[in-house]
């Protein structure tokens, strides 16, 4: 009996020892996890973008307006403007979203809905924050993991899965914590750029009122509690 307990103890120690020994190796570096994630992000970005290419407007008054605001935020926060690929899309939906590999999509509906540049800057800073905090990839990887899991267990893998995945991204449905993180970061960026975050708060408040003149409100429908967000942005 005593001998068996002793053997159990030794066996456990051996298992723990193996684990400790193995964890000495930097597997993250060995497997190049980060590099692989980056490469994957680039590929995914290209892939998503390939499906949206035609509707994008890359010049004109609206493009220049958004471009100058993004450039201003990037400059004062020390981000490389060149890395962000800005796309304006002719769509009446009030929406803006970040895609993998720093593709940023802004709908003309959103540009028409804002009252001034401060409001627009707020939304842009929010999307830049999503990119800077690598929320896009985090979310995508989780979603991919989830899809992978389902396809493994149900054995129903298919082309539909990846399509659904990309649809998820454009809906920008992040979870609450990530949204708040992005909001807080956005305020930081705005302050550094010398823009008052009140504009962003005003915009969110108006969206919260569900003003009929704004048209289709997909940005707000995926970003819950916009009034509450407006409140904490003002409070900062």
């Amino acid at each position: 009996m005593k001998k068996t307990i002793l053997q159990a103890f030794i066996l456990l120690s051996i298992a723990a020892g193996i684990y400790l020994l193995i964890s000495r190796v930097d597997w993250m570096k060995l497997f190049r996890v980060e590099k692989m994630t980056d490469a994957l992000e680039q590929k995914l970005g290209d892939m998503v973008w390939a499906g949206m290419d035609e509707q994008s407007i890359e010049e004109g008054k609206e493009y220049d307006r958004v471009d100058s605001l993004v450039t201003a935020i990037c400059k004062s926060n020390g981000f490389e403007r060149k890395k962000i690929k800005l796309h304006i899309m002719g769509d009446s939906e009030v929406n803006a979203f970040a895609l993998p590999d720093r593709h940023m999509v802004v709908h003309t509906g959103l540009i028409n809905a804002v009252h001034n540049n401060d409001e627009l800057s707020g939304v842009l800073a929010h999307e830049i924050a999503h990119m800077e905090l690598s929320h896009v990839m985090k979310k995508l990887l989780k979603q991919m993991g989830y899809t992978l899991l389902i396809s493994i267990t149900t054995g129903e893998a298919g082309g539909g899965a990846i399509k659904e995945l990309l649809g998820m991204l454009s809906s920008t449905a992040y979870d609450r914590k990530l949204e708040k993180d992005a909001d807080i970061k956005a305020i930081e960026y705005l302050k550094k750029a010398g823009i008052s975050p009140n504009g962003f708060a005003d915009f969110l408040y108006r969206l919260g009122e569900k003003d009929g003149s704004l048209g289709s409100l997909s940005w707000i429908s995926t970003h819950p509690d916009s009034k509450e967000r407006a409140r904490y942005i003002r409070g900062e």
């Binding site: 989830y146 899991l149 389902i150 267990t153 149900t154 054995g155 129903e156």
Partner: protein
Amino acid sequence: MGISRKNLYILIMLFCVSGYSWLVMHLDSRWVNVVGSVCVFKKVTGIPCPSCGATRSMIALISGDLINGVLWNPIGLLLLGGLVIFPFWLLHDLTLKKNSFHVFYASVEKTIRQKRIAWPLIVLVLLNWCWNIYKGV
């Protein structure tokens, strides 16, 4: 011949315990998403087995949705009925030291083996199976 009383009761107890834990697991819808179908037959052949959908049927029945319960798979009705009745029956037999369930089981086995009962049952199972495949459960 046939299964002994003790073995039968152990088997039924196992059935009840695993059945109830299986159902409790499935009440959490996240579990369904994570695990999905466990049916080996469906995984291998790609077509549902005769009892695929029974879990969903039972879940529907538990939540009071009789129609969906039957539509998913009528077998769910049978299984849930067994899960509800067997524990009481076993308890009755074990406390009163009787073997009424064993007798019942043996008589059911005997009845089913008769050709004029067996064939309609087989046809019924096959029809239900066809329906299952048609539904794409």
